[in-house]
Symmetry: C2
């Protein structure tokens, strides 16, 4: 078993460590396990000489050193877009959009799945599986097809039709479940207990899987010229992405790859599924589960596994967690598209709308350099805006019709 | 006016040259104009040190040297996927898929639009416009939004709903026209004659626009380690992409950036719009227009402007032009998804299905290294496969239901 620089699994609650393996819950306290590492010497030059995808950071991930040689979807190194027009419309001095819609299946999930797949192979699993709100389904089905192994994907049956077709096309086992995401997630845990060859990427392989989100943090720092932003706004579903970007920043500081400086981390949720924002605002350490009701289905996790750790990061760095209405989400999608030519999915709309709200409330410093994450693609959530946008005109194919429509 | 290494516009029919400017037809013979260059010394090292997008090739394009500093969508440097499983299923020794669905609006059109926008700015145009079968509409609307200028996009009113919404979201002028693409194209030419500030990227700025497709050829050669493939299969709509990839290969040879070696270029069309394939098979030099009837709408150009030049390239290199039925297109989409985890649009399905047909007929050498182009994204042509793929099962959220469905 070769998992690169990974050395152990350590409980995030009680700190108990155990050997690497197919484990995800602490044997002592049932807390979630997280990867520990011995990085040795990782340099900027070695990273920059690596592949043009997440494997340039393989020395910082629980994967074998030759991971790039095995068929995979090669996600990552997506655009960091300097967003001057969006900044101007919101009154910000300097803003960047990390546009993860450029990944192979057009969401950040390709990152975590690629790491999970690499680790699952080493751990001896035969099937790549997941419960999903849609993006993860696409990513798992595509990655398994590319790797030549079986996939088994479980989604709520009310998912966007786009995400259903985009998963089914890859030809794996694909099951719709009559329930919400939390129901599907519970079922996946039960199946994982029975099917020992099945790697549910976000359940029994979760400690490995979650590390993939660190690559978002590494890329942002590298693309800024090896430095950290002052502020970052990150969508919160399970909360894992936010905590892992923070972990990446901390690792880069410890390794001396970026200068140590303060940064503030902000979380973004939809008002229809805002358990972490509610806990933050109420000053609680515990996150009370909610029943999701929002168009932002990729964020509709009512019982977020990493909610408490999100609160820790946000409070430690002086950030906040805010939530926005579905109407604001749609306006956020349209604002990002109009100003920067980036068509984000509903999660991107949540993040842009939250950015706006944080600026207006004064929680976010408009003069400080800010990065926001667009984690997915508008093409997968067309239903959210299809009634809101339309062509300017429909005309007959003649110059007279064009003139009559007064479009010049 | 700074158009980098571009020196003149030269007629592809009569060879007459004129100065650079907003011209697209020869004043002598009305033939199409093409950019001529003085490249000076372009090195592999200079390219490799450039941005991680098409602007690394700016020294080979009609754009200013500082083009990367102006807001643009930063397309290009998409994945070249080693497709061993697809190769095996078709009986090929060595196959690569150039996956252009990774571009910002998920088709190769982002490349040509980025070059057209850069040139249009230098030429003094104020509006970025186009007639489109859909992908170009997305690309123009996004690029104009990002650049902070007005767009004016014209599409057939029967376009896929996905492409309609994905264009409308960017907030420019967007007109649906009751007619097919050739009708819309004719209307655009008429409008271009009246609106002198409007750069119709594929009409009056076409000589600049078309050069953007060369970057596909440059990238394939660079990603193969600075060498050319033995065979390449390219979808044919107007035919411009195919002729420009060939032009790119020829330029790389002349500049000494790759070794001079024979390569064969193949064109792929849908049987429902096969004017170039029909001309090739009949041994004609002239392409007779057809009325398109195919699910591959992004290739549905019945009167392809570069058809005769496609025939020239294919015959010169010992290739062929082949066409496939809509059923084969759907099977091509599914085969690519199942074997490589790449969900292409109908044009990608046309290319994969044509590859299969060329192997089966013996026109393509199965032992030679082959590259195929996936020019767009399956998410934009879901209608083509939505009735063909479906989940394996729908179950209640319980372990009993999972067991009863016999999915393990």
């Amino acid at each position: 078993m070769n998992l690169g620089p990974a050395t152990a699994l350590t409980c995030r609650e009680c700190g108990h460590s155990r050997e690497l393996g197919p484990f995800y819950a602490c044997a002592e306290c049932f807390g979630p396990l997280e990867i520990s590492y011995d990085f040795g010497g990782v340099t900027r030059a070695a990273i920059e000489a690596g592949p043009r995808n997440i494997w340039r950071y393989r020395g910082l991930l629980p994967v074998p050193g030759n991971v790039a040689e095995t068929p995979n979807t090669e996600p990552g190194l997506t655009r960091l877009v300097r967003a001057d027009q969006l900044a101007e419309s919101l009154g910000l001095a300097r803003l960047w959009v990390k546009d993860d819609s450029g990944n192979p299946t057009h969401s950040f999930k390709d990152r975590v799945v690629a790491v999970a797949l690499a680790a699952a192979r080493e751990l001896g699993f035969k099937v790549l599986a997941c419960p999903s709100t849609g993006n993860l389904a696409n990513a798992v089905a595509a990655a398994a097809a590319r790797a030549g192994i079986r996939s088994a994907v479980f989604v709520p049956s009310d998912l966007e039709q786009q995400k259903i077709i985009t998963t089914a096309v890859y030809g794996g086992t694909f099951v719709t479940v009559d329930g919400n995401y939390d129901d599907v997630n519970r079922l996946a845990s039960e199946i994982a207990g029975e099917q020992e060859d099945w790697a549910f990427v976000n359940v029994n392989v979760r400690p490995y899987y979650a590390e993939g989100s660190k690559t978002l943090g590494y890329e942002i720092a590298e693309q800024l010229g090896w430095r950290l932003p002052d502020q970052i706004v990150i969508p919160v579903a399970s909360g894992s992405q936010l905590t892992k970007i923070d972990k990446a920043f901390q690792e880069l500081i410890k390794l001396g790859l970026v200068e140590d400086k303060p940064y503030r981390v902000f979380g973004a949720q939809a008002a229809g599924c805002d358990p972490v924002a509610a806990a933050f605002k109420a000053g609680h350490d515990v996150v009370r589960p909610v029943k999701p009701a929002t168009i932002a289905k990729s964020l509709a996790i009512g019982n977020p596994a990493d909610g408490p750790y999100v609160l820790d990061v946000v409070r430690r760095t002086g950030g906040a967690v805010e939530d926005v209405t579905d109407e604001q989400v749609v306006e956020g999608i349209r604002l990002l598209a109009r100003t920067e030519g980036v068509f984000g999915e509903t999660a991107g709309g949540v993040t842009v709308a939250t950015l706006r709200k944080l600026v207006e409330s004064g929680a976010l410093d408009p003069s400080a350099e800010t990065v926001i994450i667009n984690s997915g693609d508008g093409l997968k959530t067309l239903d959210a805006i299809s009634s809101q946008v339309a062509p300017s005109a429909n005309i007959a194919p003649s110059l007279e019709a064009f003139r009559a429509a007064d479009l010049a």
